[in-house]
């Protein structure tokens, strides 16, 4: 098969909505000098793989594990700048640190209520069992936006504040009205999928980790076809490599389409303007 034929064969039959993307300002092999350049490089690469929209969150240019309130504000302003440059592509999430619950709630008011961000991002400052997350989740319910929570099970040891899947299940049970997306299906692995299967308000993103065979099929079998969503973790990962976790599986076409677009579209607030297909 020639490369041109192969490109055609790999092209998704449906557009993809990526629920897990960072600016190049945070991660990646390429340094950028402006939000404009950042947006252009991400969009060009995404479109080559068939990704049309991206949920975007900055973890701040220096990626501190315990960011200050000011660093979160700076990160969110960068994300908003990219959204304003390409509003049809970027769906901004608000990054907050549960070490500062009150300030996080205020930042969610600013970014979600005020600037129309469409979700909330939590990383590794505190595990999901920490009560500091509760006011953040209450805001998420109030504004009806999803919360994307990082999780992994690392053989080499999780960071002190890094959530395990069971921690995220605990969060989902504490806040049954919240819509929680647990990041990193492959990082959570075959064990982590089982840890969260019983939480109907918990969704799993396919981002991060290697494109191991069989995991997405296992996740769909355990969680159902509507609780798995496509994410890449670009620019740490490659859009197309991560798309393979959906398109390169034995799942039926309607399930692939839902993972790539509809399941995330249903989680986003109305003002995101993302319809199901």
């Amino acid at each position: 098969m020639k490369p041109a034929e192969l490109k055609e064969k790999l092209k998704p039959a449906w557009p993809a909505l990526d629920v897990h993307v960072h600016p190049l300002d945070c991660f990646g092999l390429t340094k950028v000098s402006s939000a404009r350049e950042d947006a252009n490089l991400l969009i060009e690469s995404a479109r080559r793989s068939g990704v049309e929209k991206m949920c975007l969150f900055s973890l701040h240019t220096t990626c501190p594990r315990e960011p200050t309130v000011a660093e979160c504000i700076e990160a969110n302003d960068y994300t908003l700048t990219m959204r304003d440059l390409e509003p049809d592509v970027f769906l901004p999430f608000c990054y907050v640190n549960p070490m500062y619950p009150d300030e996080s709630a205020a930042e969610i008011d600013r970014c979600v209520q005020g600037a129309k961000m469409v979700g909330i991002k939590l990383w590794v400052a505190r595990r999901a069992t920490d009560p500091g997350l509760d006011p953040i989740l209450e805001k998420a319910v109030e504004y009806n936006v999803p919360v994307l929570q990082h999780a992994w099970i690392k053989t080499t040891g999780n960071l002190v504040g890094e959530s395990f899947p069971a921690d995220v299940a605990d969060l989902a049970q504490r806040h049954p009205k919240a819509k929680i997306i647990m990041a990193h299906m492959n990082g959570c692995g075959l064990r982590g999928i089982e840890d969260v299967a019983h939480c109907p308000n918990l969704y799993l993103d396919t981002s991060g980790g290697d494109p191991d065979s069989g995991i997405t099929e296992t996740a769909v079998a355990a969680l159902g076809p509507n609780r798995v969503v496509y994410g890449s973790d670009a620019p740490i990962r490659h859009f197309g490599v991560q798309l393979g976790k959906t398109l390169g599986t034995t799942l039926p076409d309607n399930v692939k389409r839902d993972i790539l677009w509809n399941n995330t579209a249903r989680l986003l607030p109305e003002w995101a303007g993302v319809d199901t297909i």
């Binding site: 092999l29 793989s49 080499t156 492959n186 197309g240 390169g248």
Partner: protein
């Protein structure tokens, strides 16, 4: 022509895979892979990895597009006999070393590597089979640094040496050594990140990169996507097969 220089067959104890050779072939044929170089996965965990080569020859022998890649271990006393056996298989074009799993330092393989030169065989030396963060708690295997494989290539300038399973950043970090060593190449089976291969091509490494899928552990769609999605057709063709066609004596 698409040549997969880094595929496997068999079972992996910490993660279930559909690894029978028929299934691996079918999964790669779906994306047009014409030639498949396979090693037995079980060899990684056997105290004598040679034990799986004979079965590999038998199974691979039934498929004209499959090239067995035996695993050799220089710390097993009978490696010379095992190499001699490999040379009787017409479709053995390269052998694989898994130094992280035996384990041994690559210097221990120097005599074996010189013997490969005499037999006109190439070698693929694997940096990793599995992300250390995702390995079984009681079976943790650290990566072999790609730089150590570059050192090995420099000690054996007449041997074609392929770095197996290095990540994009590692390959990029070896740019100057890859360009300076005519016998050193890298497979791209574990490259990831935005424009993972494009950034290497832009560094001038097109001729040094070889397609590998890491199937059945990894999904073939992903392997092909990382190469063709971001590249001009001629660069993609070089990495997918033209380079392997040129450097291996088929």
């Amino acid at each position: 022509m698409i040549i997969d220089l880094n595929a496997f067959t068999g079972h992996w104890p910490s993660h279930p895979v559909t690894g029978d050779l028929n299934s691996v072939r079918a999964s790669l044929h779906e994306y047009g892979v014409d030639r498949i170089c396979v090693s037995p996965l079980e060899a990684a965990w056997c105290r004598n990895p040679h034990r799986f080569n004979e079965a590999l020859y038998r199974t691979a022998g039934t498929f004209p597009d499959v090239y067995p890649v035996p695993v050799l271990d220089p710390t097993v006393a009978t490696w010379k006999k095992e190499l001699e056996r490999a040379t009787r298989e017409l479709r053995v074009k390269l052998v694989r070393l898994l130094p992280a799993y035996s384990p041994y330092a690559l210097e221990a393989a120097d005599e074996l590597l010189e013997a490969l030169v005499a037999e006109n065989l190439a070698v693929i030396i694997q940096t990793r089979l599995e992300d250390p963060r995702r390995q079984h708690q009681l079976a943790q295997v650290p990566d072999i640094p790609a730089a150590e494989i570059a050192n090995t290539a420099e000690r054996h300038p007449a041997l074609t040496v392929i770095i197996g399973g290095a990540r994009t950043g590692e390959i990029r970090g070896l740019k100057d050594r890859l360009l300076a060593s005519p016998n050193l190449y890298a497979d791209v089976s574990q490259c990831d990140g935005l424009d993972a291969i494009k950034v290497l091509v832009e560094e001038g490494l097109t001729e040094k990169l070889l397609f590998g899928s890491h199937a059945p552990l990894f999904i073939p769609y992903s392997a092909l996507s990382r190469v063709v999605t971001d590249l001009a057709d001629e660069d993609a063709a070089a990495i997918l097969g033209d380079n392997a066609e040129r450097i291996i004596t088929w």
